[in-house]
């Protein structure tokens, strides 16, 4: 099945570019320990998902590029053109002259409705090129105006126009110490509205990725490209083809559908986070070997201690022994991270030897879902993106509670002071709407807290 990607705003377009670039370079990289037949199949499935092939064999993305100003889209198109491996469909882009000015309301209430028809038309053209449509993957940041405001509006349009298709929103969470001063307002508006129309939100935090770049990748002067490459790697590690069941040995044909099926058992919980391991500079990679037990032990502890990368993991956090009333206080103390559902994706050599019993521990999960339903494992012997072995964990858990609580708290204080509110009312988002947004988010926080 194919997925149509929609890249929105500066961030969405930059991340989208790196995403496709990694998919392509992975396609052409050494297959590791998979057989030729397996590898051919891997390539075929990947191509079907995200690209269509021109007669000359060129890969063209199933993507729509959208921005309200022209510089980023034109740069993205030309970079892809130069890559030689793949390109965008140049008719599948839409840009305007003047950006949304970091104003969510401007994107959602003005630019969104104004350009809805053109953009949805571009989407439709991509959909028509798919033999079977699996769903939509939108990439956007929450901080700015175009990605967040217009992205949210278009998500709603996609939901209306394709009620049976799946919508996954890749959302980039801004740096805690601002990129954009009104980022907390833009973020809560984005999250609350996406919660209504999206099937799941896959979140990447800039602060975490930045740390990965400096501490794990060992990059001295970190650029946005470095950050985006890490995000792209993590996304690729989910979306590249993988076997979804032990017996059938066939690649997952409906990536979004199966992802949602594993991870979103209840509409109240749809925030997904991602951890992967290992992650290091190419230089160190050449000198490292890994074994599955070691990797998975780390990955499990990252999950339960809510460590977002492989460094600084708190090894003292343990799952609560008894699911009793005192569970909550105990958890608070040790910062135990309770999950709704987890999906592990293993790629590389000897993958069949890996044991994941540790992820099936009942105390890791809520009482209302059995570990067998809450945990899913996908794997493939095909190595991904130069890593001989790599493991990715997508989880629907309490991992985002703290950053979410932070953003809502800051936005609330700003709102109580009435600062910047006039910038939003100007475009039709009034105080009432803000209050509704706060209610939605407090509800999400409460739900996840009470897991």
């Amino acid at each position: 099945m194919s997925v149509v990607t929609v890249q929105l705003g500066q961030c969405g377009n930059q991340v989208g570019y790196e995403f496709f670039d990694i998919l392509c370079s992975d396609l052409h990289s050494k297959p590791g320990h998979s057989t030729k037949r397996e590898n051919d199949y891997y390539q075929t499935v990947c191509k079907e998902q995200f690209f269509h092939e021109e007669e000359c064999g060129d890969l063209v993305t199933r993507a729509v590029l959208v921005d309200m100003e022209p510089k980023v889209v034109s740069k993205t198109l030309s970079m892809a053109g130069r890559s030689g491996k793949w390109k965008y469909d140049i008719s599948s882009q839409f840009s305007q002259k003047q950006g949304c000015g970091n104003n969510w309301a401007n994107g959602y209430c003005v630019h969104g409705p104004k350009h809805q028809d053109i953009v949805m038309d571009l989407v439709r053209k991509q959909v028509e090129k798919c033999d079977r449509l699996g769903g939509f993957f939108t990439i956007m940041s929450m901080a700015g105006g175009t990605g967040s405001g217009m992205g949210t509006f278009l998500t709603r349009c996609l939901r209306d126009a394709y009620p049976d298709s799946l919508l996954l929103n890749q959302v980039i969470w801004p740096y805690g110490t601002g990129e954009v001063i009104v980022q907390n307002y833009n973020s809560i508006l984005t999250l609350s509205h996406l919660y209504r129309s999206s099937d799941a939100l896959l979140v990447h935090e800039n602060d975490i990725i930045h740390k990965v770049c400096s501490q794990l990748m060992n990059i001295k002067q970190i650029s946005f490209r470095d950050v985006n490459k890490v995000i792209a790697h993590q996304l690729g590690s989910i979306f590249q083809p993988v076997y979804t069941s032990e017996e059938a040995l066939h690649y997952c044909r409906n990536p979004l559908g199966e992802l949602m099926e594993c991870l979103v058992p209840h509409p109240e919980y749809k925030m997904l986070g991602l951890r992967n391991i290992p992650q290091m500079s190419e230089h160190s990679l050449a000198y490292s070997t890994f074994n599955w037990n070691g990797l998975l032990k780390h990955l499990r502890q990252m999950l339960i201690a809510n460590a977002k990368m492989e460094e600084g993991i708190n090894w003292h956090v343990r799952p609560p022994s008894q699911p009793t009333a005192e569970k909550t206080s105990l958890r608070k103390e040790l910062q135990f991270n309770t999950s709704v559902a987890n999906l592990a994706i293993l790629r590389g050599k000897d993958v069949q030897t890996a044991s994941l019993e540790g992820f099936r521990d009942p105390p890791l999960y809520t009482p209302w879902l059995s570990p067998d339903d809450a945990f899913t494992l996908w794997k493939t012997p095909r190595a991904f993106n130069k890593y001989e072995k790599s493991a990715t964990l997508v989880s629907n858990s309490q991992f985002l509670l703290k950053p979410l609580d932070n953003i809502v708290g800051k936005a609330w204080n700003m709102f109580a002071s009435k600062a910047y509110v006039h910038q939003y009312t100007k475009f039709g988002i009034d105080e009432e709407e803000f209050l509704e947004t706060f209610t939605t988010l407090e509800q999400i926080i409460a739900s996840y807290t009470n897991l």
Binding site: Q98, T177, V182, K410
Partner: protein, 472 residues
């Protein structure tokens, strides 16, 4: 990409404008080596086909034919504008872009605002409209004027009102040069306070500049450059330098005016050139103006010069960030570090990455006070094209209560004159000027000062907010 129009009013406005156009050409020439009329150039310039059969129509893309500034030049005397028309930049303007008179405004706000305003309104509107029609997406007007005199202050703020009426959707950024305390125009406090009311009510953003602050920066640069302490300074990198422009021989105010011209270039760089974190003009007011009237932004430019030595250590990069917060780099005499920040933007150009920005924000944050509801009030932009002569540069824009002393000083000087009703009759003679214009202007200024005082009072005090919503 969008376009902007510069409206330069009065002697000061036109002199700064003139420096702006020269340095803008210098900047684009250094980026655009092929002489192709590109999107970046299009934001401030038109490419006009001057051949007779084309009749002065806009040549579209392709080779540069003849560049025309997107500008309207207004002065009520002819001296400065004539000088521009006879100088090396004359080809940038045609006579349709000029509005002049011969008799001047006599340092009287009322003459500029009421008399000439009424008289020239049609002419001004027509001129602005024509210039606006030459843009396919007009985003911003930059008004450049001074506060102390008659034309810049009076007619300049009149133009601002006209812009709001005629182009309500287009942003209005005003660069206002405030008079020094020992200004030789005796009525400058009146003119400034009368103009302030208009700025507070009708501008989206005001960038206040103080003459004295510019003088101090010029002296500092001269001192450094002359003592030879610097070793080799790249001569075109001085913030005050004409070097590389069309007009190389400097006039007395050029050094000061070049600083302001560089401010405008850096302010618009991210809208004109590409970068990894763009910052469009409409993001400035969105991020830096939390309450409609508090739109006065202090600015600082660093570095003041770049050494010829190309090995730039990180330390020097970090110094650029530190300097932007020191009081001797501000374009008004003010000390942001010891006042309260409502919001702060860092617009970086050149070879600087997001990690350099993060590091410096973390490093500087402990020394700065932010208002309690905006503790992380940073807006950042990364433009990959550095200014001429530099490898990197920074423009810091702050919405900070440090502007208050300047406003208080202005009010005191106004009151001193007003108490004695000195020179009032010159103003009252002008049709449409009434006593209440003065009282309203001073109370508008006072309430602005009061707003800043209230914010200042919250400094260091724990503010309690209403409890968050509770989900039952």
């Amino acid at each position: 990409m969008t376009q902007s129009i510069v409206v330069q009013v009065g002697q000061c406005g036109n002199q700064i404008g003139c420096r702006f156009w020269d340095l803008a050409l210098r900047e684009h020439a250094s980026v655009n080596k092929k002489g192709i009329f590109d999107e970046a150039l299009c934001s401030f310039f038109r490419n006009v086909d001057t051949r007779a059969e084309a009749g002065g129509a806009d040549a579209q893309r392709g080779k540069i034919c003849s560049l025309k500034a997107r500008a309207v030049l207004i002065d009520m005397e002819e001296g400065v504008v004539n000088e521009i028309l006879q100088g090396p930049l004359r080809d940038l303007f045609d006579s349709k872009q000029l509005i002049t008179d011969v008799s001047g405004s006599g340092n009287n706000w009322a003459v500029g605002h009421k008399l000439y305003g009424g008289q020239y309104r049609e002419h001004i509107v027509e001129n602005l409209r024509r210039t606006a029609e030459q843009c396919d997406c007009l985003q911003c007007f930059f008004v450049i004027h001074s506060m102390g005199g008659g034309t810049g202050s009076g007619l300049g703020t009149f133009v601002l009102n006209v812009l709001e009426e005629e182009f309500p959707e287009v942003y209005r950024f005003v660069t206002s040069v405030y008079p020094s305390a020992e200004d030789d125009v005796i009525t400058s406090p009146y003119n400034s306070v009368l103009a302030m009311k208009e700025l507070t009510e009708h501008a989206d953003c005001v960038l206040p500049i103080e003459n004295q602050a510019l003088v101090d920066i010029v002296n500092k640069i001269n001192q450094m450059a002359n003592t030879g302490k610097l070793g080799n300074v790249k001569s075109n990198s001085l913030l005050t330098s004409n070097k590389g422009g069309i007009k190389e021989n400097e006039k007395p105010f050029d050094a000061m005016n070049n600083i302001v011209a560089n401010l405008l270039l850096n302010l618009t760089s991210s809208a004109r050139f590409e970068g990894s974190l763009n910052m469009d003009l409409n993001e400035i007011s969105m991020n830096l103006v939390p309450f409609p009237q508090l739109h006065y932004l202090t600015s600082s430019l660093t570095p003041l010069y770049t050494l010829a030595d190309v090995n730039v250590p990180t330390r020097r990069l970090d110094q650029m960030f530190s300097d932007a917060f020191s009081k001797d780099h501000q374009l008004i005499r003010a000390d942001p570090k010891h006042s309260l920040y409502l919001a702060c933007a860092l617009m970086v150009r050149g070879n600087v990455q997001i990690s350099d920005l993060r590091r410096n924000i973390e490093r500087l944050k402990p020394f700065l006070q932010f208002v309690s509801w905006n503790q992380e009030g940073w807006k950042t932009g990364l433009c990959s094209v550095p200014p001429v002569g530099h490898s990197h540069s920074l423009l810091a824009l702050a919405n900070n209560t440090c502007v208050k002393p300047t406003f208080i000083e202005l009010r005191d000087r106004f009151s001193k004159l007003y108490r004695k009703k000195a020179h009032l009759h010159h103003y009252m003679q002008v049709d449409g000027m009434e006593q209440h214009c003065f009282t309203e202007a001073i109370s508008s200024l006072s309430s602005l000062i009061e707003e800043y005082s209230q914010l200042d009072a919250s400094k260091g005090i724990h503010v309690s907010y209403p409890p968050r919503l509770n989900i039952i």
